[in-house]
Structure formats: structure tokens, C-alpha cells
């Protein structure tokens, strides 16, 4: 563990995946994935449904196990060791499609939970951090409400604040706006754009191509468990190389 944390700064990539393969039973979801995410880099992952893009980012914090290949997060190689996995998760924030806020806890308690139990912070300090991040996603006035009393957009902003409270070094977004009503997508994207501007390393599975154009350093296109194309947004949208990418782009941008 010590040799692992010692290298956590400097030029080591934030995330490094080599030769990653994963199966669900006989179904080959991820094939030979090689991906390196540098510190401060913003990456958008897109592709048709079932292409393995969510599975890919869920492997990074071990919500999914892979059968072959290696993942190194912030210099820490992923193993089956629970302590090691939890160490990695502390550095990796995640935002889910369905928010996954804890409905029995208030907004503030949602944000304080892991600070209190994982980071063992005193109550007052956890509160302060939580309010700070709730302020940043402009929802501090709802701190004492329960998730069930908030709109989808508000819940997703709370979920982002909750992840940020752990002061992660990288944020994973798994289709953060797919479950939202159209009028709420913008308030969540605004928060994400702001976060990108502040230099957060981000890996974002999304169909919001406008977001990809604005903030992404690289866009990754996946299909059938493979990375088909990997390019800066201008190249990706204007001169896609593969036929699959062209077809995909024509389908999502065509209307």
C-alpha cells in the first residue's frame, strides 16, 4: 500500500487500463481495452447502448470485476483485495444515472456519510465541507430536505456534491443526464462544465454531444466492447475515421 501511495503524484497517469477484457457469462462485454487518462484530462465516452461504455467506467472503481488485463488508478494497481479496492474508491468519485441518493438521509447527511465513516472527520468539519460543495452546486438551501422532496436535476446536483465531498482526484459520470426531464439537463451540465473548468479529471459517459464539444479533451467511441475511435472533439465530430462512428453520429446528431 505504501509503495502505491508514494507514486500518487507527479506524472503518473490518473487511470491506466491495459488489455482489459470482461465477460458476462459467455457475453464478451469489454475487448482488449487500452486506455490512459492523464491528470486533469476530460474524456467523454459515447457509443450505442450495450457497447460496454458504462461497464468500462464501472470497472475503474471495481463496481464491475474484469477477468483479464490491468487497471492502475492513481498509481494503485487494482487487485481483489478489499482494502486496496476501498483505497482506490476513496480517490474516485462517481455519479450515477439514477442519482442513487440515500432516500432515508437528508441531503446534508448524504454528503456527510462517507466523510464521517470513511475519512473519520469530526461532525462539524464534515458539515462545513458538505455545505461548501452544496453551495457550489447551488443547492445549499435544500440541505435539510430529503432526496424524495427534490426534483431530478436537484438530486443529481446533490449526488455530484456528495461525490466531491470526498475530494476525489477523478470523477466518473455514468450517463448523468439520461434520467432527467429535458428542462433539468442544463442545470446538471452547467455544474459539470464548471467542474471541468476547475481542472478536475473527468471520465464521462454521455450522449450530450454539446457537452463533449465544450469540455472534452478527447472523445472515445465504443461499439461492441471495443474502443473504435479516440480523438479530440473537433476531429471526432468533423472527420470521424470509422464507418460505425459516422453512422452513430448521423443518428444522434441527425435530428
Amino acid at each position: 500500500m505504501n509503495e502505491a501511495t508514494a507514486t500518487s503524484h507527479g506524472d503518473t497517469p490518473m487511470i491506466e487500463m491495459t488489455g482489459l477484457n470482461k465477460w458476462y457469462g459467455d457475453f464478451h462485454v469489454l475487448r482488449d481495452i487500452d486506455l490512459t487518462v492523464k491528470r486533469g484530462e476530460r474524456i467523454v465516452v459515447c457509443g450505442p447502448s450495450g457497447s460496454g461504455k458504462s461497464t468500462l467506467i464501472r470497472c475503474i472503481n471495481h463496481l464491475e470485476t474484469h477477468q483479464q488485463g490491468e487497471i492502475v488508478v492513481n498509481g494503485v494497481p487494482m487487485t481483489q483485495d478489499v482494502k486496496r479496492i476501498e483505497q482506490i474508491r476513496r480517490n474516485v468519485g462517481m455519479v450515477f444515472q439514477h442519482f442513487n441518493l440515500f432516500p432515508h438521509l437528508s441531503v446534508l447527511e448524504n454528503c456527510c456519510l462517507s466523510q464521517t465513516w470513511v475519512q473519520k472527520k469530526p461532525r462539524a468539519e464534515a458539515h462545513k465541507t458538505a455545505m461548501e460543495y452544496l453551495e457550489r452546486v447551488q443547492i445549499a438551501d435544500q440541505a435539510y430536505k430529503y432526496p424524495g422532496q427534490l426534483s431530478g436535476g436537484q438530486q443529481q446536483r446533490v449526488a455530484i456534491a456528495r461525490a466531491l465531498c470526498m475530494r476525489p482526484e477523478v470523477m466518473l459520470f455514468d450517463e448523468p443526464t439520461s434520467a432527467l426531464d429535458p428542462e433539468m439537463i442544463k442545470e446538471v451540465l452547467d455544474v459539470m462544465v464548471e467542474l471541468a473548468r476547475e481542472g478536475m479529471t473527468m471520465l464521462c459517459v454521455t450522449h450530450e454531444m454539446g457537452f463533449a464539444k465544450t469540455v472534452a479533451d478527447r472523445v472515445i467511441f465504443m461499439d461492441q466492447g471495443q474502443i473504435i475511435e479516440e480523438a479530440p472533439p473537433e476531429t471526432f465530430f468533423n472527420n470521424p475515421r470509422s464507418e460505425r462512428t459516422k453512422l452513430f453520429l448521423s443518428q444522434i446528431l441527425g435530428h
Binding site: N61, H62, L63, V82, E86, R89, R90, V92, G93, M94, F96, H98, N100, L101, F102, P103, H104, L113, S114, W117, V118, R136, V137, Q138, I139, Y146, P147, G148, Q149, S151, G153, Q154, R157, R162, A163, M166, E183, M184, K186, E187, V188, D190, V191, V193, E194
Partner: protein, 369 residues
């Protein structure tokens, strides 16, 4: 940085038209709003009166309440003198009279603790919980059994009546819930051995009638353990009841665990929380809340089934009343005895039921998951 949500702009709502109030209005709207409804209402009320009136007359109007011997019974209605004459033994069983104050203290402590825990306005729940879990059992054990601090030893053979029923029910309830939680988690564990042990345990205890468990506990257990080790009969029954009901509890709780979306556990994992934190802070609070009706249902069944201990010769509330029926001074008062036993069981079970409904409402946080 986040844009204003549409929800932030509120249009003031108009109030609904005034609802009709008052008893007469209510009757009109609900029971007599039309000819068919009125006929149905009249018939229902008639049937209820016809069915219940004789019982009310027997149990209340023509009943004999005062006196201290059989002579006080007129024979027209119920003779509750039977109950009042035997009241002490119904409460304490064969507990020696000189030491009954110890039982009273335990009853008072229990009532006080329950009120402290159950009424939200009283502060210091953490202390109440600690006292209830640690202090109370020790105090109850020392007081009831005696043999320490100059208190006379009272063997569990002399325990009986309501005191025994409450002892068995309380220990059964308090023991079966945590064991049930552990078994439910075990049955959903990723570790094959833990899962297998939990499944076998649950299926074994669920597949055996409680009477069999009690017989086995009282008759068979002594065959397997050396004669020098003498287990208390009550203790054996308690262990049997606890394990039997923990299997049911486990299945109720497993139902709750399954209803919690996997996203909750994943969110906990993503925040770096370990297994016990995720279960204790995220999954179980939601799962247990969801199955409060099932848990209380199990508590109620457990409470009522404590009366089965009479088949292994323990004198619980029902058994002590039955014993009273054989008293030659009081032959022929079986109905009064059983009605009273039913009433006592009903009061306890109904209280649990109402309290669980109250708790369910209180824990409602407008859950959308």
C-alpha cells in the same frame, strides 16, 4: 452556476372547497348517501348488534365484578371474581410472595424504558438504548433469579403467569431480531460457505413445528449432553424459541433487503464505504423500515406462541389460568378464564400493531426509490 429550475417559480395554489364537517354530515355522506347504501348500513348495524349484544350482556352488564369467593357469582353473566381472586397468581405464577416486589420493579423498569424508547419527545434515546440493551437485562436477571446481593434465589420453576409470558416474549423478540438480521445478510452473502450455512439453518428451523422444537429442547437435549450439565428448562425453551423465530425473521428481512435497489449499495461502494458500513448505514435502515409490518407480524406471532411453552410444563399466562380452572373452589369458570387470557394477549398484540403503524408514518421521508 446551475440554472434556475422551473420548479423554483411557484404559482400560488387555490384552496379546495370546504369539506363537509360534523357527525351528521359524515353519516349522510358515508352511510346514508342513497337508498341502497342506507339499507346496507342499517342491515350491517343490525347484524353487528344482534351478534355482539349477548356477549356484551354476558361480559359487562350481567357480570359480577365484586367479591372474593364463589358466593359472589350470581350465575347470570360472567363472574370476573374468578379473575380477581386469582389475579396475583395470574401475574406472578408461583413466585414466592415475599419476593414479588422484585418482579414489580422489573415490570416498572420495563414500562419506563419502553416509554422512553417509544415516545419521540423524550430525549436521550442513545442512553435509553444502552440501558435497554445492557443495563436492563442484567438488572432483570439479578432481580428475577436472585441468588446475589442477599436476594433469595427463585428457581425458574417458580416463574409463571404474565411475568413468564413477558420474559419469554421479550427475550424471544430481542434475540430473534439480531439473529434474523445476521442470517438474512448471510443468505445474501457472496461467500458460498456463509450462504450455505445460513440457508440450511433457516430452512431447518422453518421446517420444524415450534411444538417439536420445544419437545426436543426439553426432552431430547438432556439425552445428548452429559448428566452433570443441567440446563434450565426455561433457558432451553428460550433458546429454541429464539432460533425458531430468528429463521422467520431472517426471511422477512431478506424480503426487505431484496427490495432495496442495487444502486444504493453501489453508491455506498463508490463512496469508499466498507461492507458493514454499507449494510448498517444504507441498506439495513431502508430494508428494515420497509418490512416493519412483517417484523411486527412476526413479533405478534411470537408473542402469542409463547403460550405453547405450557406443553413442556412451564406455566405461562394461559397455563396458569388453566391450572386455576382445576381448583375445586372454582370449577366451571373456564369461559371467564379464556376470555381474560384472550383479552390480555390481544391488548399486548394490538399495542404492538398500533405502535408499528405509528412508527411507519414517522419514518416516512417521501422515498422515491
Amino acid at each position: 452556476m446551475a440554472g434556475e429550475s422551473m420548479r423554483d417559480v411557484m404559482i400560488e395554489a387555490r384552496r379546495p372547497p370546504n369539506a363537509h364537517r360534523g357527525v351528521v354530515k359524515w353519516l349522510q355522506r358515508n352511510l346514508f348517501n342513497g337508498p341502497i347504501n342506507s339499507v346496507v348500513s342499517v342491515i350491517t348495524i343490525g347484524v353487528l348488534l344482534w351478534a355482539l349484544w349477548p356477549f356484551v350482556q354476558w361480559a359487562l352488564i350481567q357480570a359480577d365484578w365484586l367479591g372474593d369467593s364463589r358466593q359472589a357469582c350470581s350465575g347470570e353473566g360472567a363472574c370476573w371474581v374468578f379473575i380477581s381472586a386469582r389475579f396475583e397468581s395470574i401475574i406472578y405464577g408461583f413466585y414466592p410472595e415475599a419476593a414479588r416486589w422484585r418482579v414489580d420493579i422489573v415490570f416498572a423498569l420495563m414500562a419506563g424504558l419502553l416509554a422512553w424508547l417509544a415516545i419521540p419527545r423524550i430525549p436521550g434515546k442513545r442512553w435509553a438504548a444502552i440501558i435497554a440493551v445492557v443495563g436492563f437485562p442484567i438488572a432483570a436477571y439479578v432481580l428475577l433469579l436472585g441468588g446475589h446481593f442477599g436476594l433469595m434465589h427463585v428457581s425458574t420453576r417458580n416463574w409463571g403467569g404474565l411475568m413468564l409470558t413477558l420474559t419469554v416474549a421479550t427475550i424471544g423478540i430481542v434475540g430473534s431480531l439480531p439473529i434474523g438480521i445476521v442470517l438474512a445478510l448471510g443468505r445474501r452473502s457472496n461467500m458460498p460457505l456463509v450462504r450455505a450455512v445460513s440457508v440450511v439453518f433457516i430452512e431447518f428451523w422453518r421446517g420444524v413445528p415450534l411444538i417439536t422444537v420445544l419437545f426436543m429442547a426439553s426432552v431430547m437435549l438432556p439425552l445428548f449432553v452429559p448428566t452433570e450439565v443441567e440446563f434450565d428448562k426455561l433457558l432451553r425453551a428460550l433458546v429454541g424459541i429464539m432460533l425458531f423465530w430468528s429463521a422467520y425473521m431472517a426471511e422477512v428481512i431478506r424480503g426487505g433487503l431484496q427490495a432495496i435497489p442495487s444502486g444504493q449499495d453501489e453508491a455506498g461502494k463508490a463512496l469508499g464505504l466498507g461492507y458493514w458500513h454499507r449494510m448498517g448505514l444504507i441498506v439495513l435502515p431502508q430494508a428494515l423500515k420497509l418490512v416493519i409490518p412483517g417484523i411486527v407480524n412476526t413479533f405478534i406471532a411470537l408473542f402469542k406462541d409463547t403460550s405453547l411453552v405450557l406443553i413442556i410444563g412451564l406455566f405461562d399466562l394461559l397455563a396458569i389460568i388453566r391450572a386455576g380452572l382445576t381448583d375445586s373452589d372454582w370449577l366451571g369458570f373456564a369461559t371467564e378464564g379464556y376470555v381474560f387470557a384472550a383479552l390480555v394477549f390481544w391488548v399486548f398484540c394490538f399495542s404492538m400493531s398500533r405502535y408499528s403503524q405509528y412508527i411507519e408514518k414517522r419514518l416516512q421521508t417521501g422515498h422515491t426509490n
